[in-house]
Amino acid sequence: MHREETRTDLGAIKIHKNVIASIASLAAVEIEGVKRIGGDFTSGLLELIGKKNLLAVKVEIDKNEEVRIDVPLVIKYGFNIPDIANRVQENVRNALEKMTSLSIKDINISVQSIERG
């Protein structure tokens, strides 16, 4: 799995994609109106056997070391979707920039379902 790497005088610092996915998913569920992180069939299967739902959040790092994140969401009923999506994008961007100093290119949100809160 590709890792974001930063060089310092003492050596290299690598951030695993799963760490980026973790930060993104935690920042996403912080927003009021987000019920949970969505997922596909594989991530659902992994969740069933006790693995964290990290596969659902897709992280891509391109050649220019810019990060692209796809976050699937389940939104609570009664909330405005574009507003929630905007707030999630902002929160994920802030959290990632604060914790990893990475350059975030895109945070793509896909609303998979609506559930009662």
Partner: protein, 203 residues
């Protein structure tokens, strides 16, 4: 992703062609059932051949699984409403819009059941609603109200200005008698316990 698709389709085409040729050869008597028997026996005889057969089976399952997921994911991706923001793209699955509409069923007491089907077209969003209503409902008034609520809720929650067309199809009207009849039928079907009241007399 496209290359995986091409590989997957080619793989399935080759496998199906081989099966087809084998069946045709069998029907033309080009090989005997004994040949198949010998082949199976040969495959089962050595530990190496058994491992190869087992691994091939496992690989086939993996290929089928990933190919099915690829196709299903592709179909799922197509059924979305998308808009761009400064931070990236937001896509909303049409099934999420259907969930939203289903919740509206609880808001209107005259509706017994609501089955929505949402399609996104170039002209706008088309909502096909199939409803089961309770009796003594004014259908024109209710359907108009349902259309208004559906349209405004979609525009409010999705924050879109596109046109929303709401088609309503009343599937069934359930009367109170239907409910009572179902209850009575359920009670009738429950078997009575023999001697249920026996021994209670005089207690």
């Amino acid at each position: 992703m496209r290359i995986f698709m091409v590989l997957g389709i080619s793989f399935y085409a080759v496998v199906l062609i081989i099966i087809g040729i084998a069946l045709m050869a069998f029907s033309l008597n080009l090989f005997e059932p004994l040949d198949i028997n010998n082949l199976v026996l040969y495959l089962q005889s050595g530990i190496n051949s058994r491992i190869i057969v087992g691994l091939s089976g496992f690989l086939l399952i993996l290929i089928s699984f990933s190919f099915a997921q690829l196709i299903l994911g592709r179909f799922q991706r197509e059924k979305t409403i998308a808009f761009a923001t400064t931070s990236g793209e937001v896509t909303i699955a049409l099934s999420a819009v259907e969930d939203l509409i289903k919740r509206l069923g609880g808001v209107i007491p005259e509706i017994k059941e609501l089955r929505p089907d949402v399609i996104a077209t170039k002209k706008g969003i088309v909502v096909d609603l199939r409803v089961i209503l309770k009796s003594e409902t004014n259908i024109p008034e209710l359907t108009l109200r349902l259309q208004e609520i559906t349209r405004s809720k979609i525009q409010e929650v999705l924050g879109i200005e596109e046109q929303v067309f709401v088609k309503i199809h009343v599937l069934k009207i359930v009367t109170a008698e239907d409910k009572d009849k179902k209850k009575r039928d359920a009670e009738k079907q429950e078997p009575g316990i023999p001697f249920a009241g026996y021994g209670r007399f005089g207690q």
